[in-house]
């Protein structure tokens, strides 16, 4: 076979694709089997209490383009402590907040990372010790690992 431009392009084209595949592999994230599951994280926070769906509001867009920077707001009047869980992130627990006596309303606004489509969970421990929950389903276009 003569080495024509066409043959050359076909063969090197395959080579380039192969290299790209390798590069994509290298982008993979580290998976830690020691990392607790979302259920474990939630159970630890609940500490044996029955979790009820009330009294806490989770404000989060249902469709997110950029998973690296997602505005999130948790409003839990009367909560002593709250926790935010992202079950499809490599690290399930995103943050936990303890409110002190000078915190007027148990309300916090921040920005989180979302790795993939998932149902984000906000948990709150109220003054009387009960544990409540709010959830929000989110679609993520470009995942930001966290």
């Amino acid at each position: 076979m003569r080495l024509t431009r066409r043959v050359l392009l076909q063969t090197t084209g395959l080579g380039v694709l192969g290299t790209l595949g390798g590069a994509l592999d290298a982008q993979q994230h580290f998976f830690d089997p020691e990392e607790p599951t979302a259920d474990e994280v939630i159970a630890e926070f609940a500490d044996g209490q029955v979790i009820e769906d009330r009294d806490v509001t989770l404000v989060l867009q249902s469709f997110v383009e950029d998973g690296y920077r997602v505005p999130v707001e948790i409003h839990a009047p009367g909560a002593r402590e709250i926790m935010l869980v992202a079950p499809a992130n490599p690290s399930k627990k995103v943050l936990s907040v303890r409110f002190g006596r000078h915190s007027a309303v148990s309300h916090v606004v921040t920005r989180m990372r979302l790795a993939a489509d998932q149902e984000v969970v906000a948990l709150a421990r109220m003054d009387n010790g009960s544990v409540v929950r709010a959830t929000q389903k989110v679609s993520v276009l470009v995942g930001g690992c966290g």
Binding site: S91, V94, V97, R98, H102, R111
Partner: protein, 109 residues
């Protein structure tokens, strides 16, 4: 002169007694989550701000435990109510051992 990463804090200079007001605090930090791999397949070590604490005259307003799921340049907005004038202290704890502190005074009229 600020040493270390840039911190920005926003809160009113004066409030009326009993008023609830918003405090916003942000620090510049890359929040390297520890799950990424470098070009050689090695793990990029985790380096995040793992705790943010805001207190008023030594008593906690808000105490946040941050995990890698918090976006880079962590930002928080929250509400406070204070009984008298005094000083707020904002502290960020970095994985590398650094502790960054800012203070802001408020008057109650």
């Amino acid at each position: 002169m600020t040493v270390g990463p840039k911190r920005r804090i926003k809160l009113p200079e004066t409030v009326a007694a009993g008023d609830v007001f918003t405090i916003k605090a942000k620090i510049t930090h890359h929040m390297e989550n520890g799950f990424r791999l470098d070009q050689n397949g090695g793990r990029v070590p985790r380096d995040i701000i793992h705790r943010f604490h805001c207190s008023f005259e030594g008593e906690t307003v808000i105490d946040v435990a941050l995990e890698p799921g918090v976006a880079s340049h962590p930002f928080f907005a929250f509400e406070a109510r204070v009984p008298r004038g005094g000083e707020f202290t904002f502290t960020w704890y970095d994985d590398d051992g650094m502790v960054h502190t800012e203070t802001r005074s408020i008057d109650v009229i």
